[in-house]
């Protein structure tokens, strides 16, 4: 087998990288331009740093409130989901339970449901039964529906990877179940817990459809703010781009930490790297 040159893949990948980054780069360029600079020939180069659009967006109280809501909802949901998934996978991995496999399968199928299909019943349930419409807690609990199955998948593999002998040894030394969890399992599962937490946080932050339908004023999130921006202000492209950059900023921050795990996560662990 002849040794293939590494030049061709390198060139193609440079091209691919440009394509991948182009939409995000363009967002950044537009967010750095004044209104006047946006007319004429669309140059892909940065004209210089103009922070006016970001200042406008951040000075707008409504958007600050949306962002604050997003932070609260994503953080609470991520904490809730990570803790519940830790407990659930501990049970699935360490206890012999009846119908365990069917239960696991049911937990996972929750993620596959198309969101649009559940909008109508959720809207009716939220407005008529639970009084959860337009509340942060409503979103925090609801995001468990797609984040919990995901977190359970991710954590199940991690939990099964921790040798049972370790917690058995701790039990013989007189540790309670709670102590096994906090003193043995959590320290060993820490890296996995961190990845689970970051990814669930990202998914909650990114969610749009439920937030748009099940909130109106008090619990609006940043993604709904971004979508409204188009319909309300029409052509204020600079600020739209600045708000988009703020929406996708967490993705840029966390990319390095989670990129190794996102595939296993998105394919329900069916594909491991």
């Amino acid at each position: 087998m002849k040794k293939k040159s590494s030049l061709l893949p390198l060139l193609i990948w440079c091209g691919m990288t440009i394509i991948t980054l182009l939409p995000i780069w363009w967002l950044f360029v537009v967010s750095m331009r004044t209104r006047v600079q946006l007319f004429g020939r669309p140059s892909m180069l940065l004209n210089g740093f103009y922070w006016g659009n970001y200042i406008e967006v951040l000075e707008n109280e409504e958007f600050r409130f949306y962002m604050w809501n997003s932070i609260i909802v994503a953080t609470s949901n991520c904490l809730l989901v990570t803790i519940l998934a830790l407990l659930a996978t501990f049970a699935l991995s360490r206890y012999k339970l009846a119908a365990e496999d069917s239960l696991f399968f049911w937990l996972i199928t929750n993620r596959m449901a198309p969101a649009a299909v559940f909008l109508l019943p959720l809207f009716l349930i939220y407005t008529q039964w639970f009084n959860l419409f337009d509340t942060r807690i409503g979103l925090i609990l609801l995001y468990g529906v797609f984040n919990l199955p995901f977190a359970i998948w991710l954590m199940k593999g991690i939990m099964d990877g921790i040798p049972k002998e370790l917690d058995e040894a701790a039990m013989i030394d007189g540790a309670s179940t709670f102590q096994v969890l906090t003193k043995v399992i959590i320290p060993l599962a820490k890296p996995g817990l961190a990845v689970t937490a970051i990814l669930t946080w990202m998914f909650a932050w990114n969610e749009y459809l439920f937030a748009a339908t099940l909130t109106s004023v008090e619990a609006r999130t940043i993604t709904t703010g971004l979508a409204e921006f188009v319909s309300v202000t029409g052509t204020n492209w600079g600020e739209l781009a600045a708000l988009s950059m703020l929406t996708l900023a967490p993705a840029l921050v966390f990319l390095g930490f989670v990129q190794r795990h996102i595939v296993a996560g998105l394919t329900f662990g069916a594909v491991k790297e």
């Binding site: 590494s6 995000i24 049970a91 649009a116 109508l120 990114n206």
Partner: protein
Amino acid sequence: MRSPVTGWLFLAPTITVLAIFGFLPFLYVAFVGFFDWNPFAANPGLVFAGVNNYRRLVFDDLFLRSIGLTLQFTFWVVLSELVIGYLLAQLFMRDFPLKGLFRTIHTLPLLVAPIAVGASWKLLTTPGLGPIPYYLERWFGIDYRMGAFENQAFITTVVMDIWHWTPLVTLTLLAGLSAMPKEPIESAQVDGANRWQIFWHITLPMLKPVLLTTIFIRLMDALRTVDEVWMLTGGGPGTATRYIGLHIWRVVFPQTDYGYGAAMSLLTLYLTIMLCWFLYVALVARKPRGS
């Protein structure tokens, strides 16, 4: 021996959340689908309607058109992403400098909020602002106005989805390719098989499990695409990109015809499951050829 009761206690909060927010809406939507229910109509209560809602659906042109569009969209994005993703994964199997960096950047679209993806593509494609209409006009003389031409809007949503989700396909197929043993391909090369024969008779059958997983995950996600398309085209022009999720959310939902909306939601869920089932039977249950 550990008591299973403790195990169930650990699972209880998870099961409760999923039962209330995942399973209850499913039961509720199935129930409401059998009633006429419009709170703003002359009779605001629930009136039993049997399968009338479902009967109406079969003759609802907008619904059927939306389903058709969704299927076309799904077909094109899944096919393109598989082909491009496979080629890129094969490139990643070679050695070249800065591979890790390229890989990380390639993963980026997967983490970006779909609504921000829609916004960035809107900025790229808006005439008078974005570079895409400008250069298409200048270099190829193409009059690109997504608001005016239906097929341009459709193609743009497909391209956007390819940009967004090809990385997932690349990375899953790369994982599959990396896990494959090298010997069968090497011995086939010794026996004088050409590239196409190796691909068709060796790589493809061995890659099948990963490939199927990838197809199903992309299929389910493509069928429920809403956010990006809503942001980019708003479902238009006309109904050209009003995929089923958009249709239920933007058209049926605001009409407050809840029984009908519920029936449409349930039928959509059913069609999604059936499509996956048919594909599963066609791809998996059939005897693998060549092996």
